[in-house]
Amino acid sequence: MFRSITIAAMVALVALTGCATKPQLPVAMKTDTLAPQVRVGVALTAVPKADTYLPGAGCLLCMAAASMANSSLTAHTKTLASDDLAMVKTQVVESLKKKGVQVVAIDGDLDPTKFPELPNEPNLSNRDYRRLQAEYKIDKLLIIRLEGVGFLRNYASYVPTSDPRAWVKATGYVVDLRTNAYDWWQPVEVLRPAQGKWDEPPRFPGLTAAYYEAIELAKEQLVQPLQ
């Protein structure tokens, strides 16, 4: 009996923890990362389209009910421009230039999935960006990864447990192209509520203002460590 319980506990332990990938923890900017003699490439991933996110509406029926309840907000969200986020690349380049760093702006949107995959290891990049080292003659690559922008509203099954809030998620990181190690890893997540009431269809002015505020705050949080 005792053996059976032990085996069951071990199976449960392996099942629960065996496949989990450790999330990358923040890495503080190393002192020599942005030294004047270092050539740094700056790249930005594609700017995501604004959307609504309804975490917590778990079951299929819950998701359908939540989507229906927020349909006018979703329709409005899809009309919002997220181009302001792309300005972060220019801001990063300017900040680094002010510090005397030799900066090279990488053209176009960077798609990490188009680079060879590497094994997941803490504080090491899981993509091999070395071909950019030769192409742009750079030592380090600073990537701003834009992960999501729009509105987030928490649900517990069928019931909203929060008002919708403007949401931006991004990560800024520097990969040393010689060692593939992260010299900096900074996740940024901004949530801003509407000032006053939020439910003002069809233009949702309070939430729209919060949306643009969240974009500015996210840019500020990404650029600040580089100043």
């Binding site: 517990a156 099954s157 069928y158 500015e216």
Partner: protein, 362 residues
């Protein structure tokens, strides 16, 4: 602008309560109009229509009248601005009872919704009470700020183009314009600035629909750094706090009357929307809107997405929040060092500054 029209415009702009030199300007403008037959300035069409005007036949130029209606309250409403936003965030989850059927599920969902509303409502109330508690040290001064008194002082300070008087809420008046205002003042969480939120409506004539109706939000300049945040407001029997209330109201009057009497082009209605960054006390805030008008010291008039008007100092215009209000001599706060502003009582609005300069030139 030709000389007669220029004189007339000058008169119309600056001679709210005409001193003797204003009367001279009026006569000069009318005489000039009669002789030169030039295009009339606004408000002088009637005079320009007559080709042979003699001083005896000159019609009296009447100032338009304005009634500013008192709000229902006796004292100005002051509140603390809440910095906490927990009530707008997430409330609690809930596990629904299993095996209760569809009716049980619906009952569970409804109970959950009621609980969430109740939690957020009580959080909001607690936040507001905590913010209002900040005002306790200011109560001795705030309890002396009578609406009738401060609104009248603000009308005098505003130097409007109309002859303004304060009237009780229910009094029937026969004025050219009526201005209704519902002001609420907020102390910012850092207690460095006061902001005025006011619903305003301007009616032309008696009992007409408003020709202009908006909510305006105006920010006071920040106080200089002090040992306690209350002392700059409360020193000298609360002189700065009283002045801030008067000055904010006077700016609100000017915005309302300019909005009601000027064409949309003149008030910059076609400006493009963008995200602006401004000071709220010593804190940077963002707002999406159009910059309608820029003033010195980084101050600007912004129309936000709710069509409200904000008079704020933009962060781009100044690296630190200004210590002076729009229209006053610009005093900027230096980084890490507070510069003492000029005494509030000696500050002069822009309109009167330009009037003095013009008078000297004339």
């Amino acid at each position: 602008m030709k000389r007669p029209a220029w004189f007339a415009a000058l008169w119309a702009e600056h001679c709210v309560r005409p001193p003797s030199w204003c009367a001279g300007l009026a006569l000069a403008s009318l005489a000039g109009l009669a002789s030169a037959q030039s295009a009339p300035a606004p408000g002088t069409a009637a005079q320009a229509a007559g080709s042979t005007l003699s001083p005896a036949a000159l019609p009296q130029v009447q100032l338009q009248t304005l009634a500013i209606r008192l709000p229902a309250e006796t004292l100005l409403r002051f509140r603390g601005q809440s910095a906490d936003e927990k009530s707008q965030g997430a409330a609690g989850g809930m596990v629904y009872p299993g095996g209760a059927g569809l009716a049980g599920l619906i009952a569970g969902v409804l109970t959950h919704a009621v609980m969430n509303d109740s939690i957020r409502s009580s959080q909001r109330k607690a936040e507001e009470e905590a913010a209002d508690a900040m005002l306790r040290p200011y109560r001795p001064v705030l309890d002396q700020l009578l609406c009738a008194e401060v609104l009248a002082q603000a009308a005098e300070l505003a130097q409007l183009a109309q002859k303004a008087r304060i009237v009780p809420a229910q009094e029937v008046v026969d004025t050219d314009w009526t201005l209704k205002i519902a002001p609420v003042f907020y102390m910012t969480p850092d207690q460095r600035a006061v902001l005025l939120d006011a619903d305003m409506a301007v009616e032309k004539g008696i009992g007409s629909d408003p020709v202009w109706r908006k909510r305006v939000r105006l920010m006071s300049p920040v106080t200089p750094a002090a040992t306690t945040p209350q002392s700059p407001w409360l020193d000298e029997d609360g002189r700065r706090l009283r002045h801030a209330a008067r000055h904010l109201l006077s700016r609100a009057y000017r915005i309302a009357m300019e909005g009601a009497t000027q064409a949309p082009v003149a008030t910059g209605e076609a400006a493009p929307e963008r995200t602006v960054r401004f000071w709220e006390g010593n804190t940077k805030r963002f707002e999406r809107g159009a910059v309608l008008k820029r003033d010195d010291c980084g101050w600007a008039l912004v129309r936000n997405l709710r069509d409200e008007l904000l008079s704020v100092s933009l962060v781009e215009g100044a690296s630190m929040p200004p210590l002076s209000a729009p229209g006053e001599d610009c005093v900027l706060q230096e980084a890490g060092k507070a510069v003492a502003p000029q005494p509030a009582a000696s500050s002069v609005p822009a309109a009167s500054s330009s009037a003095v300069a013009t008078a000297a030139a004339t």
